[in-house]
Symmetry: C3
Subunit: 230 residues, 3 copies
């Protein structure tokens, strides 16, 4: 089963370790055994943390990938049990699906646009868009890739500006550095084979620590490396 999906990750953290904006959105295509993507498409923009359009942008990136990639399903990072997004009605959202008030409001606002894109995907490629979210393995893998590219982007920003920044990794992940690459791996034991990598610049020092205000999340402190003159 060939699956296309997109996720966004890697938040800039303020001095209270609260996320402010998201650094990276990555689309992947993955097939059996669902460990390594056959395609990775990264976007490097800043996204607002609570931007209701983030999901719309993610689905648009999926749609773009379908221009060149044949898949069986699109997995959308919206956790509604895996239902086809074209089968969701406003009534479902109002009455049937348990959700936080804020989540309900956001999803109701963007549902028409999501369904319009999903209809176009259905008509052109006959591919269903599933609202599967955090239950999807490919969404998790896309999250690791988004984090890897986000770390790369954050390191570039630090190198350019000279200013330190803190970023937050996805839940249950860690970053390791190997030459000019960052590797993001899942620390959830059953996901030990999931890993993502992205290129990084040199000259930035990285310190990893547990985010004190949200358990099970690592944060990275990025600073310009002091060049010791011997």
């Amino acid at each position: 089963m060939r699956i296309a999906t997109v996720d966004s990750a890697c938040s800039v953290l303020n001095e209270s370790f609260m996320p402010t904006n998201i650094l990276s959105m990555v689309g992947i295509v993955v097939d059996h055994p669902y460990e390594q993507p056959s395609k990775v498409q990264a976007r490097s923009e800043d996204y607002l943390l609570n931007d209701p359009d983030l999901l719309v942008k993610e689905l648009k990136l999926c749609q773009e990938m379908l221009e060149t990639e044949q898949v069986d399903y699109v997995h959308l990072d919206m956790s509604l049990g895996g239902v086809n997004i074209l089968e969701i009605t406003q009534a479902d959202l109002l009455f049937k699906i348990p959700m936080s008030p804020r989540g309900r409001e956001v999803i109701r606002a963007i549902l028409p646009e999501l369904q319009s894109i999903a209809t176009a995907i259905d008509e052109q490629y006959h591919v269903p868009v599933l609202a599967i979210g955090k239950r999807s393995g490919p969404v998790r893998l896309a999250e690791l890739y988004a984090a890897a590219y986000g770390v790369g982007r954050a390191m570039e920003k630090v190198k350019e500006s000279g200013e330190a920044i803190c970023i937050g990794l996805p839940v249950g992940t860690t970053a390791t550095f190997n030459g000019d690459k960052v590797n993001i791996t899942s620390l959830i034991p059953i996901e030990s084979k999931l890993r993502a990598e992205a290129p990084v610049v040199n000259g930035v020092q990285v310190e990893s620590f547990l985010n004190p205000i949200i358990r099970r999340f690592h944060a990275l402190k990025l600073t310009v490396e002091n060049i010791e003159v011997v």
Copy 2:
């Protein structure tokens, strides 16, 4: 504390990786330190995934085991906080216990029969039946055994029919093969000592992968081994 319990596991997956039916039900008796059962009783039948009578069949198997096994408690795979099933009223189910509408409907339908069996167990053996479900360590161990026997049964089916099938393992578990045995182990770190084994046939090839539509679950693809003629 000696505990008898029964669980069912190992689903056949269709081409969309959705579970269709369950291959195995296993009863165990376990005592301190709750790592290895002193008795294992396996049933090899097909069970419908949403069969409301599955819990009734599980409790009947517990009842049968008590004919020869002395225990202090029966753990039923129904997650109601560990309450004695004879103390649950229809009013509790209607108003007090938080539950999905579907769960509520199923449990209300089978509660009279469960209570009738629990009454017989209480009268004959003075053993309470606790609705403890996923909180119980012994239920988890029974789940691993049910998975092991289910893998064995699936491999027999593949060998007999010559047709490949996919099966789903319980959450956070992995299968390893050692000669004519399958071992199911828990990948949850605190459960690293929990393992179950069952006999398997030869001549079936097994490939393990992460189920893409449900995170933290492994699936196995079973095919008849190609015998290379040299």
Copy 3:
């Protein structure tokens, strides 16, 4: 960011493995990288398991620690998303915050006293008290320390009375013994660097096992060591 917090842990278990009372309360101060506290203050008293005043006692211990410790935040083991406790109204508790009926009742009862202490802390030290609970890394670390000191206290009790007792450790933790110290470590992979230690007496035998009625929790059986006379 320097954080002071207090947690209580290590329950005595009855013969059904149900917790009866809590053996230990520990306050810590921790700063970047949030792995080892710079200060540990242990209380050895018995606390009732459902004592609504436990949180009040925890906040009072935080307040005491602030007499000598400068911190940026107090983390309270009350899981309300990290809100400043002075911003919580009775109306929030009644209508806005999802909670069990029992939790709601307890928190409504103690909120005035918690807010009175938080006001004193705010006036004297300008330090906000956050109702962050289980999301806080420092609360988890305090829990490990409370468990370590609780194990030490339980071993003293066993040595004094000569009677065996069972105690329950916090979720996802394990105890190891090294000379006259107990180490409590987290088995959650991302928390592998979190550990706590406390002094213990000699002459008590410890057996670790999985609590059969609550998954992911270890229990310890403590008995007076038989001295073999050769």
